[in-house]
């Protein structure tokens, strides 16, 4: 069953005024339970507004959002329950930390659910483990941590609510390559361990190609594509026209194809590229009469 489903979802800013702007336009979408989806699209494409519909932070102007088959706005008073079901980590989430200790900050979400002390404790420790925070860090003030650590605390704060769906809005913004790989690696591990649905908004096609199973492309307030990585990135031309550059390695293989080399064009990561080239070169050398490698 699809965990997130939208029907004709539409959202309009400043409705009725001269500044009216459609941010999400008639989106029909079904995201299956257990998937790891990369959401891409340039700034203003509507992706941020779309994800805020999934946990009821934004109420649709028209259309419906279903979580686990239930219309989330059926009973508006119940909307807080949806927020625990669908966890949303905003961009630069480290700026939302406020408690005296890391432990208390991570416990904020579970406390709002109204869980028992023991349950909260268990969840805080579990969440801290997922993002690689040490036991000793839990008693520190979040304000004395490094930028990357703060961000992991903030992510743990949402994971600790044990949401069925975890959505992260550009979790790697502003981080260096090391910090980026660390966080994405941890999210992937979390996804594999919990087997729940994870949505990652990203500007990096390389990261989406490397970590996600599916990609959702937003363009001009509409869903342009929602498909497997292979099928999405095969639309190189269209994506480039939208200002979304496909990974460099994909472009290299497309260029090789255009220059008459018979290669698999569906190469999105350096590892896959390496395999493909080695296969190609081996075949080439066999054809050339088994000439030895240099």
């Amino acid at each position: 069953m699809s965990v997130i489903k939208t029907e004709h979802l539409t959202y309009t800013y400043n409705g009725g005024s001269p500044f009216e702007k459609v941010a999400v336009d008639d989106v029909n979408l079904e995201i299956e339970q257990g998937e790891l989806v990369g959401i891409i699209g340039h700034t203003g494409s509507g992706k941020s507004t779309l994800i805020q519909h999934f946990n009821g932070l934004v109420k649709p102007t028209a259309g419906k959002v279903y979580i686990d088959g239930r219309d989330i706005w059926e009973n508006p008073k119940d909307i807080r329950r949806i927020r625990f079901q669908v966890g949303l980590v905003f961009q630069y989430p480290e700026y939302q930390l406020f408690e005296e200790t890391v432990y208390k900050d991570i416990a904020y979400g579970p406390t709002n659910i109204g869980l028992s002390k023991e349950e909260i404790d268990e969840r805080v420790r579990e969440a801290a483990m997922f993002v690689g925070l040490r036991e000793s860090t839990l008693e520190k003030s979040p304000f004395e941590l490094s930028g990357g650590q703060k961000r992991r605390v903030a992510i743990a704060g949402v994971i600790a609510m044990r949401p069925e769906v975890l959505i992260l809005d550009e979790p790697t913004a502003g981080l260096d390559p090391k910090g980026r790989d660390k966080i994405l690696g941890q999210i992937k591990q979390y996804h594999e361990a919990q087997k729940n649905t994870v949505l990652i908004v990203s500007h990096s096609m390389e990261d989406v190609a490397k970590y996600c199973q599916k990609a959702l492309v937003m363009n001009q307030s509409k869903v342009f594509l929602y498909d497997t990585i292979e099928n999405v990135f095969s639309h190189t031309e269209e994506l480039s026209a939208m200002g979304l550059a496909v990974p460099q390695v994909t472009r290299i293989f497309h260029a090789l194809g255009a220059r008459g080399v018979e290669v698999n064009p569906d190469i999105f990561t350096v590892e896959a590229g390496r395999e493909e080239l080695l296969k190609l070169l081996a075949a080439h050398h066999v054809r050339k009469g088994g000439a030895a490698r240099a």
Binding site: N55, L57, R80, P93, Y95, F98, N112
Partner: protein, 270 residues
């Protein structure tokens, strides 16, 4: 959404009043207030009201806006009117028990009501036609003689400018933090007053932390751009008085003179 709130009440336009030198606008606004308090009879108030209406018509600011500015002071107007009406001695026109209404009371009540309404509508026109930043600029230059007696005029103006610059940024930031905490199940909308204030802590602390961080970074950026206070500072935009400023100064002077003359030649209301 929070970020849709506009700062101040500037009503953009291209009228001569919008283009007037802010210093002159501030001076004329003060002169107008003086005019309202000098006026002692119906004719004097007639001049005051005519002046205001003319100014609104020239500015192109709709009368609706003037009314909007009056909305918050309705209780004050009602209160002073009632007070004046019942507690000023004179020839009683109507009496019931200890309550009585006198002719003087009525005229005084009307006069005060007109005064307050004109005062608010007049000063509002200043803020409708002058953006907060130009207003700050005008005030800084008008008050610059006070620097000699060690009033930190430049510093105050700089603080005002930075505040104006960062209001939209901080509003947007508040919006973001509120959403982030709501996503963690914060309940900011229900509960008793005390609970609601408590629920705001997760919003306020990050907001303060962020404001301090911004202040730090801004100070650094200002230092990198050679900021060293008001001394030796020049301004790109020089304020210049134009024909329209001179004309409006003359008109205002004539009106005040007119009100004084009317005071002398026509019997005061009381």
């Amino acid at each position: 959404m929070l970020k849709d709130i506009t700062i101040g009440q500037y009503y953009p336009g291209k009228s001569p009043i919008h283009h007037m030198d802010p210093r002159m606008k501030i001076v004329i606004t003060f002169a107008y207030i003086v005019m309202l308090f000098v006026a002692k009879n119906a004719w004097g108030f007639g001049v005051g009201i005519a002046f205001l209406i003319a100014a609104y018509l020239i500015s192109g600011v709709p009368g609706k806006m003037a009314l909007k500015s009056l909305k918050p002071i309705i209780p004050i107007v009602v209160f002073t009117t009632v007070l004046n009406m019942f507690f000023i001695d004179g020839n009683p026109l109507w009496q019931w028990g200890f309550l009585k209404i006198t002719d003087k009371g009525i005229s005084m009540a009307i006069m005060m009501a007109i005064r307050i309404v004109c005062l608010i509508a007049g000063t509002s026109l200043l803020t409708y036609t002058t953006s907060p930043i130009v207003l700050t600029d005008g005030l800084e230059r008008l008050m610059s003689p006070l620097k000699r007696i060690k009033v930190p005029v430049h510093e105050l103006a700089m603080m005002m400018t930075i505040a104006l610059r960062f209001i939209p940024t901080l509003i947007e930031e508040t919006d973001k933090i509120m959403n982030a905490q709501k996503a963690r199940g914060a309940d900011l909308e229900s509960g008793k007053l005390l609970q609601r204030v408590k629920a705001l802590i997760p919003v306020l602390i990050p907001l303060f932390v962020s404001a301090f961080r911004r202040a730090d970074e801004l100070a650094l950026a200002m230092e990198c751009r050679c900021y060293r206070g008001g001394e030796g500072r020049t301004r790109m935009k020089q304020l210049k008085m134009h024909g329209r400023d001179v004309v409006s100064a003359l008109v205002t002077t004539v009106c005040i003179a007119g009100v004084i003359v009317l005071n002398i030649f026509i019997r005061p209301i009381f």
